[in-house]
């Protein structure tokens, strides 16, 4: 096994800059796309959660229905087909059929975001389902619109619950950017393929990228755990003292309008 470790060292010393560039590309694409994908997922989630009640006017109701069908198709289409094929169709297909020249980076961000968005939409749907309906009722009773309810009440709670899932998606993306090699993006896995394809040192090169992948994904896991902890906040509250009260609530300064009138 000694030559195995030796080979790893030689491979690394010859190609480390390639691996590092690949890792950088992987990281950039997966982070940015996961972020955009989350936004898409939340947006789609909000619309999907809109009740198609007969309360809204006929026209609005029909429009909403169509929008929902469109979004549902988007989710099913992008979730349902392999990203690598989508990449070929979007990048080369658009060029062939419509003469549309997408920049390969634009295409990369687009494809991964749109895919993540499709998965996130389902994740968000599940997350919304698991929030106590009483929360939504309370928000409605206070006069919030559906969008306000979602943005201020439901999604913040959903967000905290689906962080483990966002972690999953980010990690999936870190690995799935590999398929972007079809549109000429050099990601970490692609570097491994090139190196092992020319040197025939599959196991050595694979060990190197596994370590890099693990470093990336462990950092991501760790960061998200931190975020979870922060969102959970302090376990105990501080009793408000008169000082903070005077500052924040300013109870001295407020009087009911009706009292003022008197």
């Amino acid at each position: 096994m000694a030559p195995f470790w030796e080979n790893i060292v030689t491979t690394w010393s010859r190609y480390h800059s390639h691996y590092l560039i690949g890792a950088r590309n992987t990281l950039i694409i997966s982070f940015v796309s996961t972020f955009i994908g989350c936004l898409i997922g939340f947006a789609v989630g909000i619309v999907q959660a809109l009740p198609d009640s007969p309360r809204a006017g006929k026209g609005r109701c029909a429009a909403l229905k169509i929008l929902k069908i469109v979004l549902r198709s988007y989710v099913e289409l992008f979730r349902g087909t392999p990203m690598i094929v989508q990449a070929v169709f979007i990048y080369y297909g658009a060029r062939l059929v419509a003469g549309l020249h997408l920049d390969m980076w634009t295409a990369a961000f687009l494809i991964v975001s749109v895919n993540t968005g499709a998965y996130m939409a389902e994740t968000v749907r599940g997350g919304i389902l698991s929030i106590d309906p009483g929360q939504e009722e309370a928000a409605h009773a206070l006069g919030m619109t559906h969008v306000q309810t979602m943005l201020c009440v439901i999604l913040p709670q959903t967000f905290r619950n689906i962080i483990p899932q966002i972690g999953n998606n980010l990690i999936i993306n870190i690995k799935d950017t590999a398929v972007l090699s079809v549109i000429s993006i050099t990601d970490l896995f692609f570097v491994h393929k090139s190196v092992s394809g020319s040197l025939y040192n599959y196991f050595e090169s694979a060990t190197i990228i596994m370590v890099i992948y693990l470093i990336l994904t462990l950092s991501v896991s760790w960061l998200l755990r931190l975020l979870e902890k922060r969102l959970d906040g302090k376990q105990h509250y501080d009793l408000a003292t008169t000082d903070t009260l005077a500052h924040t609530s300013g109870l001295v300064r407020y009087a009911r309008p009706s009292e003022e009138k008197k």
């Binding site: 309360r55 009483g134 009773a141 206070l142 609530s249």
Partner: protein
Amino acid sequence: MKRTDESPLDNGVRGRIDMERTTVLTVDELSKTFGNHEVLRSVSLELKESDVVCLIGSSGSGKSTLLRCINLLEEPTAGTICFRGEPVSRSRVSLAAYRARVGMVFQNFNLFDHLNVLNNCVIAMRKVQKLDRKTAEQRAGYYLEKVGMLPFIHAKPHQLSGGQKQRAAIARALAMEPEILLFDEPTSALDPQMVQEVLAVMHALAKEGMTMLIATHEMMFAREVSTRVVFLDEGSILEEGTPEQLFSCPRHARTEEFLRGLLYRCPGEM
């Protein structure tokens, strides 16, 4: 006895505006069915400005459902609801506007789990009434102080005791300064002392002309606070009248049976 001194029945406001009071809320022939279970049967109700109406009735008689229907949190199966003379529109925008003018305290509080007490009160003021943070916090502080919740403004709901949650929920509804308040058992988790304080708040609100509809099990609270008591039985209004009338000499046998359960009737009868 305290009651006779402070009951809104006898306070100045009511006498002053008496007949010219405008109608705030009209519930007309409201019915609600869950599956094949008729929960509300043709309930009709009218609330005029500064009315304080208590809904009483046994567990499962439909009190909460009635309040929730008024707020359109449940879609009524039949019947109409008019607010200030206009039927409550079903389009989404004006529905939100209507709800903003109607305050509600839920039986199980429904505080926002991710926000502390202060932000629970502030959020709707900022998003719905578009107040700036400072004004909103001042107003929230004012009402939180009234229910004795100022020390707990930084606590999250899961860190509160039952009574504290209830008071926060009351403050949240009050802080919106709505035109009518729907209370679903607002004192169920409160100790007698706290009940007195909430009662004082409600009296003050009533004096200012606030209209209130309160579902409650505390008959003595109902007696203290209300101008009218409505007895709901199996989804229909069996009897209504002034507290004196209803508690002292109920007209229906069922009402009497229900009130017989009451441990402590009015002193005169003991």
